[in-house]
Amino acid sequence: MESETNMPNLWRNKSAHEVQHLAIVFSLTPDSHLSLIYVDDDQQPRWLHLAWHHHVRERPVDENYAWGEPPLEPELRAILSRLCRRIARRYVGQRRSIAYALRYAGGRFDEMTGEFLCEDGLGLTCATFVMAVFATRGVALLRRQEWEPRDEDVLWQEKIIELLKNARDPKINEHVAVVRTEVGCARFRPEEVAAAGVATALPLGFREAESKGKAIREWLAMQIAS
């Protein structure tokens, strides 16, 4: 309960059916993962996320999740949820959809086709996928320029490179070779992007996102342990 009271009041482990239009979901499985829940026409909440290299996943959900709603007016969240619906229709089930890569430099989705437009970088992570969905409608979750490379992220990035080698993609060797050059870049950790779900205003700066993200992660780990 202590961790519960310390948490900002928007972040709870609660039913997906309580989501109003759109929410950011944080999970530990046991690695941290970031995703979205959006509400479709039939009021059914649906879980949308970049699960892995060229694997955009979407399915209806009924379970409880740790989620938060970004501080946007409901009308804006409604518009963003329609974008999620478009992205799902464009990408889910496709053999090639969105590549997994390390560096994010502000890419977004084309509104017409749902195509991911890399302004720079080679693809997305689960966390930058969420950032890109919001960026498409001109909503910046984080002040990206404040993120600096951190030594402790290099281990995670090396691990991703190793896992990517086993991805089912005929062009994976070429992809791995270029993603390897991104090792050492600034990482937007899932819990830091999740902090936008408990923010009072956007975009979040690094200090605030880092501290809130850490609190979210610890809180969820305690929830799981108990």
């Binding site: 804006l76 329609r82 974008l83 910046a140």
Partner: protein
């Protein structure tokens, strides 16, 4: 069965049987190992030049706006949002900025829902440099929101200009 050969039909390149028809398939729409559905493509299609010019995405601005006003009157936000998204996206894809600009110029904000107004602003944000009427549309939206939703006007419009 009557066969017509080269000698009988010099204009036809292949021998043809008049009562020939393609063999029926059990699953005409399913192809490949996965047997997933794919619509059957006609083997012969008209040359591109005979298909005519592509239809402009918005052929009549008044009609388009009337449709949008009707959707807004239903008080169901999603159809109005989807209509704006599709209309503006098609115009952007066709690079028809003039039509998009006229759409913004003629849009009567008093007949639009908040969702529709905001979707129009968000969708046209990326092309604001080539849409001179967008600024006027923004000001009309802002004026209406300041009267109708004074407390939320700033947060609704933040970053939309």
């Amino acid at each position: 069965m009557m066969l017509i050969g080269h000698d009988d039909l010099p204009l036809g390149p292949h021998p043809v049987s008049l009562d020939w028809s393609p063999p029926a398939k059990s699953y005409p729409g399913r192809r490949g190992l996965k047997q997933t559905y794919r619509p059957i493509q006609p083997e012969v299609s008209l040359p591109v030049s005979l298909r005519g010019s592509p239809r402009p995405p918005v052929s009549d601005i008044s009609e388009c706006l009337d449709t949008l006003y009707e959707l807004c009157e239903r008080h169901q936000p999603n159809p109005a949002i989807d209509f704006v998204l599709e209309t503006v996206d098609e115009l952007m894809l066709a690079r028809d900025y003039d039509t998009c600009d006229r759409l913004l110029q003629r849009a009567d904000v008093s007949r639009l829902s908040t969702h529709a107004m905001l979707t129009l602003l968000m969708e046209t944000f990326r092309a604001k440099g080539v849409l001179p009427a967008r600024e006027g549309f923004y000001q009309r939206v802002e004026a209406r929101l300041r009267v109708e939703q004074p407390r939320r006007a700033d947060s609704l419009l933040a970053g939309r200009r």
